[in-house]
Symmetry: C2
Subunit: 344 residues, 2 copies
Amino acid sequence: MKNTADKRKIIDIGDVAPSRKDFFVIGVFNPGVAQYKDEVILLLRVAEKAKSSGCLNVPIFNGETNAVEVKSFDLNDPDYNFKDPRVIYGKHRNYITSMSHLRLARSRDGIHFTVDDKPAICCQNKLQGYGVEDARITRIGDVYYIAYSSASEYGIVESLSVTKDFKTYEHKGAIFAPDNKDAAIFPDKINGKYYALHRPSSSEYGKPEMWIAESDNLTCWGNHRHFMSVRDGMFDSGRIGAGCVPFLTDEGWLELYHGATKENRYCLGAVLTDKNDPAKILARSRVPFMEPTEEFERNGFFGNVVFSCGCIARGNDVDVYYGAADKAVGLARIALRDILADMS
Amino acid sequence: MKNTADKRKIIDIGDVAPSRKDFFVIGVFNPGVAQYKDEVILLLRVAEKAKSSGCLNVPIFNGETNAVEVKSFDLNDPDYNFKDPRVIYGKHRNYITSMSHLRLARSRDGIHFTVDDKPAICCQNKLQGYGVEDARITRIGDVYYIAYSSASEYGIVESLSVTKDFKTYEHKGAIFAPDNKDAAIFPDKINGKYYALHRPSSSEYGKPEMWIAESDNLTCWGNHRHFMSVRDGMFDSGRIGAGCVPFLTDEGWLELYHGATKENRYCLGAVLTDKNDPAKILARSRVPFMEPTEEFERNGFFGNVVFSCGCIARGNDVDVYYGAADKAVGLARIALRDILADMS
């Protein structure tokens, strides 16, 4: 199965109100997904920039006032390099030109969504000073565990927030130390342990690859093991990371992950692991089951990207919600047998 | 107090037998320290190289055979760069020219040590493929928790092994994902939680600084928080990391840490934290309480380094065991009031 998925764009930046009058939305993408009562819930990543004229205004969390403020940069300031539209490189510290928060959207049919006016989860401490990104939602019993990444001047960490109603969220702190992102918690204890996939970045010897960790309580994690490698010459040669929250099939746990080439073309692949040992890999996609082929996937804020943080398994089909080109949200309905067919 | 410590070299490479006939010892340094019955125990880091003639032989763990083997490099092989005596830079993968293990030494007076002939802890899995390094030993009840780092092609992780007798060791896996080193576990629960200092390396935004984490069971860790920063223009401007296992004083928890300049001159400083909240910093060394001044600290395998992984508090004095120039072990007896005097 290649590119035969039923794909459509379901949310774009025009559907999302900015969180403040002095901000504007530049991307809505990479949603976390959950079935909550009779609705599909998305926790959208909404990226915003601050309106600027003359100078460059950048949203930044102030750890002393505990609030998001706007910092103005003089474009002629020789202490900063403004050439990259995404990052300001400074003498002592770098800044990101945009800031993301998580926004709730809800739908009864899973296709047509109503987006909240206000953020659900914003940066709330100094480890999240550049915003919060890429939620993955795991339901265990009637509790929803939301793992998401955040960048700051201290690095990139993976945090955990918990909710029962998608109205109030309890923050449980950083669960993986920097640099780490792309954490997906398995939705059940397996042989008495919780498991999570995560993606540390090694600065010296290692590559951006997937790891697996264990926990008794979902907030403290240990027994970190290397889970899966990049593959030279294939669609996942540059970097890989967890995509959707894994779900159980007749064949074992199925994880839909993202793989990028060194040229940053992001596709989706799948990995199947043992029902009783999620660290034991049984099969892996030989080719991606989804690639950036549509116009809205090829062109956006950062082109040639399909990137998923969540899906809903519906019997023989999987509804994969995904970020397209770091700008919009797409939905692909894919037959489970098509994903499994290209694995070995 | 500067450089007035009573310092002496107590173990050098001539005191340590190689672990194999085809290896030779290039450094014995950075020991973990524990009081065990009526003896002071050191877990020495012993770095070895493989004997070579013509080619370059390198010790490497083979994950398939689960054994340390010797890999031969042809010095004319164009796929590798051999200019750095410590690291071989390859097209697809780098190698370290030496491999470390942990070796036990024991002493009744804390000064004169008998070094075991055989390793206590060697690399035992693929995450430790380039060896194990820099043990820090925390006694809780009658159990000794040994945190130590290891490098491999997958990055640098911090692992935990446990012993009651320094004869058998139970391996508990990697407690911090890559890249991470310099973990020191506090020797008591504080308000119902265990705490550890650790040193993640961020590849993008963060700096090599100290963090603190919490645990219920010492094997799984969470609530990672940034603990302490480097300081421009000071002895700890380049990188900092935990040194000794923290110990309780009348003023609070005292942590003796290492701070290096960007030019890699390693000194020892101290940080004092609240008795009931180890994340709350009360005071920090304005100047190092120990600097590399002696010949054996200035010249060795990697010069201008004093680096401690453990100490024994003896009332008004602290016996600081330390690695000198990545080659030998030193012992400094320092008055506690001298360490505290230079803090603010």
